[in-house]
């Protein structure tokens, strides 16, 4: 278990095993029984809130839905803070940079109608809506961001989650911020830096594919550039 800030170290704890025990159960046991100073973050415990992501045996995971049985090696599990984010203390990282990038990627919905207009009718089977559906269930856990090598090489890179969010809005037919969003996600800090390693897609606990969304953004930016809109 990682203890301390960025300059901390791993410390060993003995935790009893139980059936269906999750990594979050292990962390909670340590905090409640063995070391009350341990700092960690969680809320829902059922894979909805996205607050309990940590590095488990070197890989980013949502700890509330990760069974110890699946990750244990030689009767031990290492748990540390997420990569690519500043460590505040122990297992808690500062996520503000991660969410600031959502804002920089124009991750806010920009309405094209007013309350006086009729409700937008979006066909669930339309191509655009299906693309939105494929990426919309992001819980903002930061696992993809921690898994991404491009983030570690280029700190300005917006990262898979922010770009995935931008993609779901680009494909939202009610949204009016398309061009400024495409401008925000183009270039060296945006979709064009993605190397398609697919670590985000590999690790996403919700089985989303930010890689597919980023490829979609590249296509949309390409088309807009040719049309002279960018």
């Amino acid at each position: 278990m990682w203890k301390g800030g960025a300059e901390g170290r791993f410390r060993e704890f003995d935790v009893p095993r139980h059936p269906s025990q999750t990594v979050l159960d292990v962390v909670t046991y340590i905090q409640r029984v063995l070391d009350p100073t341990l700092a960690y973050r969680y809320a829902c415990r059922v894979g909805m809130c996205g607050s309990c992501a940590m590095t488990v045996n070197g890989e980013p995971r949502w700890t509330c839905r990760t069974h110890v049985d699946r990750v244990v090696k030689n009767d031990s599990v290492s748990v540390g803070p997420l990569r690519n984010l500043p460590v505040i203390r122990d297992l808690v990282t500062d996520m503000s940079g991660f969410f600031d990038k959502w804002a920089r990627a124009r991750g806010q919905f920009k309405p094209s109608r007013t309350k006086k207009d009729d409700v937008a009718r979006v066909r669930p089977q339309s191509e655009d809506r299906r693309a939105v559906d494929a990426g919309i269930e992001c819980i903002g856990c930061g696992v993809c961001y921690a898994a991404c090598d491009v983030v570690s090489w280029n700190p300005d890179y917006l990262g898979p989650a922010a770009l995935n969010r931008a993609w779901t809005l680009v494909k939202d037919e009610r949204d009016a911020g398309r061009i400024e969003r495409l401008r925000a996600v183009a270039g060296d800090a945006g979709c064009h830096s993605c190397h398609t390693h697919m670590s985000c897609t590999e690790r996403c606990p919700k089985k989303l594919s930010p890689t597919a969304g980023i490829a979609g953004l590249k296509r949309e930016v390409f088309k807009s550039t040719l049309r002279g809109e960018l």
Binding site: V150, W153, N154, R183, A184, A186, G187, D188, G190, H192, S193, K218, V221, F222, T225, L230
Partner: protein, 112 residues
């Protein structure tokens, strides 16, 4: 650089990659085919001198390299060395000119 300029660089790199993929296949196939029975320098020059189709092909090849390689190195320099900004882009522009000059010099050397 603006997002638009960076996007244009990205497009230029993808487009030059498509050209290079074709050029490299033709280049390698021609070498393998041409040297089957052994080939002297005089025989090579006999085929390339004054051959405008040959010169046109290799001019495109060289220019595609001059476009493609510096844009790729741009990312490598940023990601591996953290080197970004105008100083990097100016050096890479210089590299592009050097690649084009050396390549065209070689192509013209066996054409003229």
């Amino acid at each position: 650089m603006t997002p638009k300029e960076e996007t244009l660089l990205w497009i230029a790199q993808r487009a030059s990659a498509a050209v290079l993929a074709l050029c490299i296949v033709v280049h390698l196939a021609t070498i393998i085919y041409a040297v089957q029975g052994g080939l002297t320098a005089a025989e090579i020059l006999g085929r390339t001198r004054g051959n405008t189709a040959w010169l046109a092909f290799y001019s495109i090849f060289v220019l595609a390299v001059a476009v493609h390689a510096p844009i790729g190195l741009r990312s490598v320099l940023m990601e591996w060395l953290g080197w970004r900004g105008r100083s990097r882009d100016r050096v890479l522009l210089g590299l592009s000119v050097v690649l084009a000059w050396m390549g065209m010099r070689a192509a013209l050397g066996v054409f003229l």
